[in-house]
Symmetry: C2
Subunit: 312 residues, 2 copies
């Protein structure tokens, strides 16, 4: 209960990649600076994909360079392949996230590779990382681990087979993601329980979208099994360009509220998070934003000292 | 896991009481008819409060009369006091819900009585019910059981003291409600666990608002302790006129999706629920509605037969 929870802010990557407009580098730097000041200690600042595919993320190297100057911040980037991994290593990022889809249909649509071809690429990335002398962590995020809008059902046995394969290929960490909002708490409990038996402590991230309202309940199900690191997007932005209908990561501010209310430390400052949310909402005016806490505010019980404290 | 869950539709009462406009009796009858056709088996059709206080619920007796004609439907009404209870008994409703607030400030604002005065009134209601020969169930709903916008913290010990008091006064059932969206899953687990030790099977309802995004996670926490009956509002409407900032019951259609996805029977038909939601949204045009499933639709995995079935 007292183990701190890490909320990795992925709004700058998962959020902005699903939005057509390009947020200026200056504003992204302000976002990273404010997020760090609000207590966020892990931020996925962008993606090393070819700029022609995602021009809105073309400034990732500059963002990494800035993020590295902030004390205590883990700088994460997404990389789709070996070329992206080389750029991540070169940038000095602390962690590179490789997406792997257990849905063959989604894997082909998103990365133009089968899942097993991605596993092979991961082996090459591990070799390149070691050869470079870099200490950049390699994390694999299993997108569509709970189902896929293109393929439909994704077999949990196939997720576990691929999980073992990427561990054998030498990744440092793995995470399970429901990028399309198909998971429910029961599915989360069952798959995380099996995955923990395969990966142990290397299973170190859960990534949920709130497409059908179950995002936070799914976070709870994973947390109850001991997962203490979650992806989240400020204002609940995000989606996947190759998964139609997928939209809305769990909102960072709502997750921060969930854990703070339960007495689980996350290190986040609400007032600063909500102020940053207001800025981001202005930058993204016209986009559909999500999240609940920003509208309702903190409960009165979290603003006031408790009676016990008052009389102590 | 296979125990059916009852979703009591409270949109016609908790939802409509917080909306200024009056929905016509004809439309309410259509709502009840369609909800029953969609598989809902318990509906709170209105409230026996003085019509000058809530004119939009003045047709409750007529709604009860209609609801009683629908096979297998439990007709629930809210009553604030003995006079309301007499009208509920006269109407032939199956169940009367008495709100009791463990927050003294809220109790005075909402009912102009202290909680202990409400307990005394409940004793008189039980006597009146018995004297009338009615079989109308008496249920007490503990509003603000997890905190109050007026008073702030609500002491769990006080909730449990009042719980024992209403059981001693002879109520058939009790439920715990977070009418202001202050609860988190940990608070829900702790209070329901203690309350179950006091009330046993008579603790038979949980009522959550989604004000800060934790509604469904709170439902899960109560369900994991064996609670199998939940209040919900179609389109997540609802609030409390005397609890500023309180808004949005958990959405019926999202709860129905949660349980169906986990394989827990609720008897609800999604297509009919979503069609009814569209009607209600039209009747309430301009009001803020909530819920996620109506926008995203069911996951492809719930529309398609599973592979195992196909190859079986």
């Amino acid at each position: 209960m007292n183990t701190p929870v890490i909320l990795r802010e992925v709004g700058l990557r998962d959020g902005l990649q699903s939005i057509q407009r390009t947020v200026s580098t200056e504003r992204k730097l302000e976002w990273i600076r404010d997020a760090h000041a609000a207590g966020q200690r892990e931020i996925e600042v962008g993606s090393f994909v070819p700029p022609r595919l995602l021009p809105q993320l073309a400034d990732t190297a500059e963002l990494v360079a800035f993020a590295r100057t902030l004390p205590g911040l883990t700088t994460s980037v997404l990389v789709p392949n070996l070329r992206g991994a080389e750029r991540a290593i070169e940038s000095g990022a602390d962690l590179m996230l490789l997406p792997l889809s257990a849905s063959h249909a989604h894997s082909l649509a998103n990365l133009r590779k089968t899942p097993d071809e991605v596993v092979q690429e991961i082996g090459r990335i591990r070799a390149a990382r070691d050869a470079s002398g870099s200490r950049c962590l390699i994390e694999v995020g299993f997108s569509t681990a709970f189902g896929c809008t293109l393929q439909g059902r994704v077999d949990p046995d196939e997720v576990l087979r691929l999980l073992q394969a990427v561990l054998d290929a030498g990744v440092d960490r793995v995470g399970l993601a429901d990028t399309v909002g198909y998971a429910d708490p029961r599915m989360v409990s069952e798959l995380f329980e099996r995955a923990l038996r395969v990966a142990g402590e290397r299973l170190a991230c859960a990534h949920f979208h709130d497409t059908r309202g179950l995002g936070i309940a799914n976070v709870m199900a994973a947390w109850e099994l001991g997962i203490t690191r979650f992806d989240a997007c400020l204002a609940g932005i995000g989606g996947c360009p190759h998964a139609p209908g997928a939209s809305g990561n769990v909102a960072t501010e709502d997750l921060a509220y969930l854990f703070a209310s339960m007495g689980v430390p996350t290190g986040q400052d609400f007032d600063q998070l909500i102020a940053l949310r207001a800025k981001v909402a202005q930058w993204l005016e016209g986009e559909t934003l999500h999240g609940s806490l920003w509208r309702a505010g903190l409960p009165r019980t979290m603003r006031e000292p408790q009676r016990e404290t008052e009389t102590a």
